[in-house]
């Protein structure tokens, strides 16, 4: 039997697992990181809801989580993972640590991108009697779109790197496949193909990101 017939199903399955992990954790990281980033901006010194306590607390928590390497985090929060999704293994079991890993990262990206927005524009909209809530959505997030997307592109690529560790809890994925076949079984062909796919994925993500940035930048 040829390589493709015997190994292709594994590779295909691993690709699907990777995309599942990547897609789901990215989605939840944005859902958590975006509001956190906005909260950071609002509570920061000079922000409209300036609150030192909230800002500093968030700031420290984000820094702590970001200091922990993913492979440690994966085991460190096992009880938490169990509490949230009821299991600590498989794709489901790795989504939680991935989200915990990526959310603070996304929050920082949002904060940085939103900080770049010209405060004067915000002032101009306040002067037009437009509410802060509307300004956040229609002015700040709008103007920050190019930076947010280029930041998210970077986050997605590093999240893809983190999914490679998912094999440790039996979640599979391309990274795990390359490790098992390439390293443990010396089937370098599988490893080459897997790495090739990962390269294509990264290229694809980056290209898509760049295109979106260009479109929103105008």
């Amino acid at each position: 039997m040829s390589f493709f017939e015997t190994r292709m199903p594994y590779i295909w399955k691993a690709l699907v697992e990777t995309l599942q992990m990547l897609g789901t954790s990215l989605l939840f990281s944005i859902l958590i990181g975006l509001p956190l980033g906005i909260l950071l901006i609002l509570t920061n010194k000079g922000g409209p809801l300036s609150n030192r306590f909230i800002y500093e607390t968030l700031n420290v928590i984000i820094n702590i989580i970001r200091s922990i390497p993913f492979i440690i985090l994966l085991f460190f929060i096992l009880p938490f993972t169990k509490l949230i999704v009821g299991t600590t293994i498989g794709v489901k079991g790795v989504i939680v640590p991935l989200v915990v890993y990526a959310s603070p990262y996304v929050a920082r990206i949002m904060e940085t991108a939103l900080l770049e927005v010209d405060r004067g524009v915000v002032e101009a909209y306040r002067a037009m009697g437009i509410s802060m809530r509307q300004i956040i959505w229609n002015v700040m997030l709008r103007e920050a779109r190019p930076s947010i997307i280029s930041g998210l592109t970077i986050a997605t690529v590093s999240l893809l790197g983190a999914t490679a560790m998912a094999g440790l809890v039996g979640a599979g994925g391309l990274g795990d496949l390359a490790y098992r076949f390439g390293h443990l079984r010396y089937e370098v062909d599988v490893m080459y193909v897997t790495v090739g796919i990962l390269i294509l994925l990264v290229q694809g993500i980056q290209t898509l990101g760049n295109r979106l940035v260009a479109r929103f930048k105008k």
Partner: protein
């Protein structure tokens, strides 16, 4: 229409308290163009932000149409602000939106219908002269054009008052003039009252009816533009007025002229500008004025002339000449040293 009463504003910084505004009171009347001039740091930016309460005064009252708005909630303020347009030194447009969207987005957020938005944009874009730029992005436009977009963005809300925060300070002289023309047209044709702050006396000269001079958080002088230009009292006002026409003389030159008489600056306002007063002076008092410098200053509603003359003669003759000129309505000042 707008009254500021005893406004003070204190900022607390690491270095301590900074008094940005100290007991500022002024009134902007319906339909006029009121200018506030001051050097940077005089507090004029803080003051203009107190008018629409982007800055809350530490004490004092902001009264708009006889309503004390000082302690309004954000929601009440939002209704007030919709009637007050504001433009800025650096335009503050959305970089990621076309000219059309830059004007339309605030209207959409305010809840106007699509048709109404289109109607208003059509109308006001024509007034600012940007009909053919609707699809352009701000960075494709010149500074003057960007300011026009900002003006259109303010006008589509059909405000009663337009606040201009150094609106021409980042523009070149020619563009400044074209924007000033536009502001005058808006004031005249649409009846929008304008309150502006600037550090350029030229802006006051060209378009303002009344003016207040600010220094270290206080208004040191205010009144009709023509009065301030011809009879400035406070040293800062004098400095601003002199910045428009430099006619100071070098010390050596002045000293040498004073050996044979004295040097005066004459300001002619109103009727006295139409009479041949210097000719009469020489006929009646037999002194022979020598004109050293002269010019006409054109204000929005008036113009006045300035002559720097050397009068030969002794103290008695000079006093006679001064009295003669003063009796005919000319303001006479002894020239100082540059």
């Amino acid at each position: 229409m707008i009254r500021l009463e005893h406004i003070t504003k204190t900022f607390t910084t690491k270095k301590g308290k900074v008094e940005a505004l100290r007991d500022v009171s002024l009134e902007v009347r319906q339909g006029e163009i009121f200018g506030i001039i001051g050097y940077s740091g005089a507090g004029k930016s803080t003051l203009i932000r107190c008018v629409n309460l982007l800055e809350k005064p530490t004490s004092g009252k902001v009264i708009i149409h006889d309503q004390d708005c000082t302690s309004y909630t954000e929601k009440q303020l939002s209704a007030v602000r919709k009637k007050i347009g504001m433009i800025f030194q650096s335009f503050h447009l959305l970089k990621t939106a076309t000219v059309y969207d830059n004007i339309a987005i605030p209207l959409r957020l305010t809840g106007y219908s699509k048709e109404e938005i289109r109607r208003r944009i059509d109308k006001y874009v024509r007034i600012v002269g940007l009909e053919d730029k609707l699809d352009a992005y701000p960075r494709q436009l010149s500074g003057g054009q960007q300011q026009r977009v900002a003006i259109a963005r303010a006008l589509v809300h059909e405000p009663e008052l337009l606040l201009c925060d150094e609106a021409t300070s980042s523009l070149d002289p020619e563009t400044t003039d074209s924007i000033l023309e536009l502001l005058m047209e808006i004031n005249r044709e649409l009846g929008i009252t304008i309150l502006l702050i600037t550090h350029e006396m030229h802006v006051i000269q060209k378009i303002c009816d009344r003016v207040a001079v600010m220094e270290s958080g206080q208004i040191v002088e205010q009144g009709q533009v023509v009065d301030l230009f011809t009879r400035p009292q406070h040293p800062t006002t004098k400095k601003f007025v002199r910045s428009l026409y430099r006619d100071d003389l070098q010390e050596e030159f002045l000293t040498s002229l004073r050996r044979t008489g004295d040097v005066f600056r004459l300001t002619f306002v109103g009727d006295c500008a139409n009479e041949p007063l210097l000719a009469e002076l020489s006929v009646q008092l037999n002194v022979r004025p020598n004109i050293l410098a002269g010019q006409i200053v054109q204000l929005k509603n008036a113009s006045f002339g300035i002559l720097v003359i050397h009068l030969p003669g002794d103290q008695v003759q000079l006093n006679e000449a001064r009295e003669f000129l003063a009796s005919r309505g000319v303001m006479v000042e002894r020239m100082g040293i540059a």
